[in-house]
C-alpha cells in the first residue's frame, strides 16, 4: 500500500557506556505509516530514546554505535548516511520534541529567531505559534525561553518541529515534565497537528495511559526488544505479552484497590502537625522590559491551615507552582515562613524524602556512613551502629551489602529505599515526602509506595505526602488536600475528593488524568 514514512528493518544496535558495550536494541522491525500516531512504550532503559535518536540520525559518536540492519527515513539510511544528507532529511522530513524544552531550546536566542531558523519568515512564525496555541504570538517572538512556562516552551518546540512541514515528528516523552492539565493540552495539540499537517507522530512515553489516549498503534519495547505491536486499544485492553500485562498492572490508576489504614482522628488528641495561617512570600524582580524595575511579590504559600492527626497520612496535590513543595519545606524547617506557625508534636523531628533520591544522598559517602550519621547523637559503639544500619536496610528490603555501596552504584529504586531507611531508622515526628516516585518507573514507583505504606503501618508514622499525581495521592493519603496558587482549595477524605470533587479546579485536574477506561486488566 502506501510507503511508510520511516522504517526500522531488522535493526540491532549496541553502544559503549562506561567502557562496556551493551546491546541496546535487538532486531527491531517497525514501520511508521503516513499520518499515524505510533505510541512507543517502555520503561527506562528499554532503549526507546535510543530508538528515537537512531531515527533522527543523532546517535552519539562517543558511544561508538554498532548497528545491524537499517533505519530508513524517506529512503535514507539514518545510521550510515553522511552528515550533509542527514541534515537534509532532518530539515525536510523530521521534526523533534524532547522531554525537557528548557535544554533543547537555545537559552541565548529569542523565540522568534529560533522558529525563524525553520520558517525564515516572521509572519509564518506567528502563524505557527498560533497553530500550537500560543496566545499573543507576535509578542512572544521577542522573549527568551526562560521567560516562558514549561507548557509554553513545549509548544514552542512543537512549533519548531512542525515548522519545516515534516513527514514525521519524533516526540520523546514530551509531557513527562508537565502538569496533567498541560499534558492533556499538549496531547490534543499533537493530534491536531497530525490532522492539520498530515504528518506522522512517533510518541515515546512510559505511560500507557498517555499512549492510549492519542496513539493509533502501540509498540511495546522491553530490554531493547519489540515485544508487542498492534492497534492501541487492542494492546491496552487485550495485551498478548506478559510484559505488557505487567506494565498495565503496575500502572497507578484512580480506580486501583486501596486499603483503609487509618480511620480518622477518632480521639481528640493533639494533632501531630499543626499548621496555622502559614504564609511564604517571595520577592521577584520583574524583567526590565515588562515594568520599570518594579518588584513583584509571589505568595507561594498563602494562608494555609492544616491539622494532621498522629498516624494520619495527608496527601497534598497540586500542579507545579501551587506552593505544595514550599509548604513541605517549611514544615521540614528548611525554609522560614513569612508568617504563621508550624507546630510538630512528638519527638524525632521531621524527616524528608526528596524527589530525586540520587541528589539527596552525598555521592562520596557510602550508604552505611550516611545511615550511620543519623545515629551519631545516640553515641553508640561501632558494632551497634553497624547492627542498626543493617536492620534499617532490612526494613526497606535491601541486603546488608548495600551498606558498602556508594549512591552512584545503586539503581534509582534502591537509592529511594536508602533515603527511606535514613528517614525512618529513628521514627520521625512526621515523614515528609516530596514526589518521591515521580522520577521512577511505574513498577518501581509502586513498590516504593507500598514500602512507604508498610513502614507507616509498622511504626505508626504521620505522613505528609506531596504529589502532582492524583492516583498516587489517593493511594497514599487518608485525606487529600488540593492546593492551587498557595491555598488549600479542597480538603477531604481521599475517596470523597476523587469520587465527588466539590471544587471546579479539582474536577479539571481529575479530567486531565489520562485514564484507561474499561480496562479489562486483571
Amino acid at each position: 500500500m502506501t510507503e511508510p514514512v520511516a522504517a526500522l528493518t531488522d535493526f540491532s544496535l549496541s553502544l559503549v557506556r562506561n567502557g562496556i558495550r551493551n546491546q541496546v536494541l535487538e532486531r527491531i522491525d517497525l514501520q511508521i505509516r503516513p499520518g499515524e500516531i505510533l505510541g512507543l512504550v517502555g520503561e527506562s532503559g528499554s532503549g526507546k530514546s535510543v530508538l528515537a535518536l537512531s531515527l533522527l540520525g543523532l546517535l552519539p559518536h562517543t558511544s561508538h554505535p554498532q548497528a545491524d540492519g537499517q533505519v530508513t527515513v524517506s529512503g535514507v539510511d539514518m545510521v550510515r548516511a553522511g552528515p550533509a544528507e542527514l541534515r537534509r532529511v532532518r530539515g525536510e522530513v523530521l521534526g523533534a520534541i524532547f522531554q525537557d524544552p528548557m535544554t533543547s531550546l537555545n537559552p541565548t536566542m529569542r523565540i522568534g529567531k529560533q522558529i525563524g531558523e525553520v520558517t525564515h519568515d516572521d509572519a509564518e512564525s506567528v502563524r505557527l505559534l498560533e497553530t500550537v496555541g500560543v496566545r499573543d504570538a507576535q509578542l512572544r517572538l521577542r522573549v527568551y525561553p526562560h521567560e516562558l512556562s514549561g507548557g509554553l516552551r513545549q509548544r514552542v518546540m512543537a512549533a519548531i518541529a512542525v515548522g519545516g512541514r515534516p513527514g514525521l515528528i519524533v516526540a520523546d516523552e514530551p509531557t513527562t515534565a508537565l502538569d496533567v492539565t498541560v499534558q492533556a493540552q499538549l496531547l490534543d495539540l499533537l493530534r491536531e497537528l497530525r490532522d492539520e499537517f498530515g504528518c506522522s507522530v512517533l510518541l515515546i512515553t512510559h505511560d500507557l495511559g498517555v499512549a492510549d489516549q492519542i496513539a493509533d498503534r502501540l509498540a511495546v519495547l522491553h530490554h531493547g526488544e519489540l515485544v508487542e505491536i498492534g492497534p492501541a486499544s487492542d494492546v491496552v485492553r487485550n495485551p498478548q505479552h506478559d510484559y505488557t500485562r505487567s506494565l498495565l498492572a503496575s500502572r497507578l490508576s484512580l480506580t486501583m484497590p486501596r486499603d483503609e489504614r487509618f480511620s480518622g482522628a477518632a480521639d481528640d488528641s493533639e494533632p501531630a502537625v499543626r499548621i496555622r495561617d502559614l504564609r511564604r512570600t517571595f520577592t521577584v524582580r520583574r524583567g526590565v522590559r515588562w515594568a520599570r524595575g518594579s518588584y513583584r511579590e509571589i505568595n507561594a504559600v498563602d494562608g494555609v491551615d492544616l491539622d494532621i492527626a498522629p498516624g494520619e497520612a495527608l496527601a497534598i496535590v497540586g500542579e507545579s507552582g501551587s506552593g505544595k513543595s514550599t509548604l513541605l519545606r517549611i514544615v521540614a524547617g528548611l525554609e522560614k515562613p513569612t508568617s504563621g506557625s508550624v507546630t510538630l508534636a512528638g519527638t524525632g523531628g521531621p524527616q524528608m524524602v526528596f524527589q530525586d533520591a540520587g541528589s539527596s544522598l552525598t555521592p562520596w559517602m557510602s550508604v552505611g556512613e550516611t545511615l550511620g550519621e543519623r545515629l551519631r547523637p545516640l553515641k553508640l559503639s561501632r558494632a551497634e551502629v553497624r547492627q542498626r544500619v543493617i536492620a534499617a536496610l532490612a526494613a526497606v528490603d535491601l541486603p546488608p551489602e548495600v551498606a558498602k555501596a556508594r549512591p552512584g552504584e545503586l539503581s534509582g529504586g534502591q537509592r529511594q529505599r536508602v533515603v527511606l531507611a535514613r528517614a525512618t531508622m529513628i521514627p520521625p515526628a512526621v515523614l515528609l515526602c516530596d514526589e518521591p516516585t515521580s522520577a521512577l518507573d511505574a513498577s518501581l514507583a509502586k513498590s516504593v509506595l507500598a514500602l512507604i505504606r508498610d513502614l507507616r503501618a509498622r511504626i505508626g508514622m504521620t505522613v505528609l505526602f506531596v504529589t502532582h499525581d492524583l492516583a498516587v495521592a489517593r493511594l497514599m493519603g487518608d485525606r487529600i488536600a488540593v492546593m492551587q496558587a498557595g491555598r488549600v482549595v479542597e480538603l477531604g477524605p481521599a475517596e470523597q475528593v476523587i469520587a465527588e470533587p466539590r471544587e471546579p479546579y479539582t474536577r479539571t485536574l481529575l479530567a486531565a488524568v489520562p485514564e484507561i477506561v474499561e480496562g479489562a486488566v486483571s
Partner: protein, 287 residues
C-alpha cells in the same frame, strides 16, 4: 512484600580504572609531574658536583666531558646548579600552592557554606581586597619589607596567592550547598562542622586540586621573576631566575650560562601546565 530491586541485566558498571587507563597520554603527563617532583626531592643526590664551588674550567659549553651542561663563568657545574635550582623552584611552588589552597580553601569553604554577611561582607570583600592588589608588586613589597631570602619570598608570594583559591572554592561550595544532599544531612541531624568536612569538602577538592595544579607553573614563573629581580635567595645559592639574571651579559658569547637555567624555568612551567591539564582530564569533577 516487595523483592529486592536489582536492575536486571544493566548493573551499573563500577569503574575499576578501566576508563582511566584508556587515557595513557594523560597518565604519562601526570607521571612526568611525579618525576619532576622526585628529581627535585633528590636533587642533592643527583647533582654530580657541589653547585657552589668552582669545579672545572670556566664557560665550558654543554656536552663537554664531565660537565653535561657545561660550566659557568667561574667554573661551577651548570647541571648541578640547575638541579638544585629546580629543587628550590619546584618545591617552593608546591609549598606556595599548598599553603594557598589551605588558606584560600578554608576561607572559601566557610564563606560558601555560611553565606549571609559572613560571606558577602567579611570574607569575600577581604578576598577581593587582596585580588585587587597587583600580586607581583605586593609580593615584592612584602619581600622588600621582610628582607630578601627564600622564606620571605615564599611568605610574600603565598600571601598574594590564596585569594584565587578562596574564590574558586567558595563558588563550588555554594553550588554544592544548594544540592539536596546537604539539606538532607541537616535534616538527619548532622552538625555544621561535619557537614563542612564530610558533605561539602570532598566535593570541592577535585576542582581545587585541578586549578592548583594548573597554577604551579605560574608560581614557578613568579618565583623566577622575583629572584631575577634579586628578591630570592642570596648568591651564591643556585636559583634559576637569579642565575639567568646574573649571567645575562654572557648571553651573546656563552648563551648556555644564562640559557640553561632559563630553559629549566620554561620546562618546569610547561610541565606543570600540561600536567595540570592532564589532572583536570583525569579527575571527574562531580556535579
Amino acid at each position: 512484600m516487595t523483592a529486592i530491586l536489582v536492575p536486571r541485566g544493566r548493573l551499573r558498571p563500577v569503574s575499576v580504572g578501566g576508563a582511566r587507563l584508556a587515557r595513557p597520554m594523560a597518565w604519562a603527563l601526570v607521571g612526568l609531574l611525579a618525576l619532576v617532583t622526585l628529581v627535585a626531592v633528590f636533587a642533592r643526590q643527583l647533582a654530580p658536583y657541589n653547585p657552589i664551588q668552582p669545579v672545572g674550567p670556566i664557560n665550558l659549553p654543554p656536552l663537554s666531558p664531565g660537565h653535561l651542561l657545561g660550566t659557568d663563568g667561574i667554573g661551577r657545574d651548570l647541571l648541578s646548579r640547575t638541579l638544585i635550582g629546580i629543587q628550590v623552584s619546584w618545591l617552593s611552588a608546591l609549598v606556595v600552592v599548598a599553603s594557598g589552597l589551605l588558606i584560600g580553601g578554608t576561607i572559601g569553604l566557610i564563606a560558601g557554606a555560611t553565606g549571609g554577611w559572613v560571606d558577602s561582607v567579611l570574607l569575600m570583600r577581604l578576598t577581593d581586597l587582596f585580588l585587587a592588589l597587583p600580586g607581583a608588586l605586593v609580593a615584592i613589597a612584602i619581600v622588600a619589607a621582610l628582607g630578601s631570602g627564600l622564606v620571605n619570598t615564599l611568605i610574600g608570594v603565598a600571601l598574594v596567592w590564596w585569594p584565587y583559591y578562596a574564590r574558586i572554592v567558595r563558588g563550588e561550595t555554594k553550588a554544592l550547598a544548594a544540592r539536596p544532599h546537604v539539606e538532607a544531612a541537616r535534616l538527619a541531624g548532622v552538625g555544621r562542622p561535619r557537614i563542612l568536612t564530610r558533605h561539602l569538602l570532598p566535593g570541592v577538592v577535585p576542582t581545587a586540586v585541578v586549578s592548583a595544579s594548573l597554577d604551579i607553573g605560574n608560581v614557578v614563573l613568579l618565583l623566577a621573576a622575583l629572584s631575577f629581580l634579586g628578591l630570592g635567595q642570596r648568591a651564591p645559592a643556585p636559583e634559576l631566575g637569579a642565575d639567568t639574571a646574573r649571567a645575562l651579559s654572557q648571553l651573546l658569547s656563552q648563551w648556555w650560562v644564562p640559557g640553561i637555567p632559563g630553559i629549566a624555568v620554561l620546562l618546569l612551567s610547561l610541565i606543570a601546565n600540561v600536567g595540570g591539564d592532564a589532572i583536570r582530564n583525569l579527575i571527574p569533577v562531580r556535579r
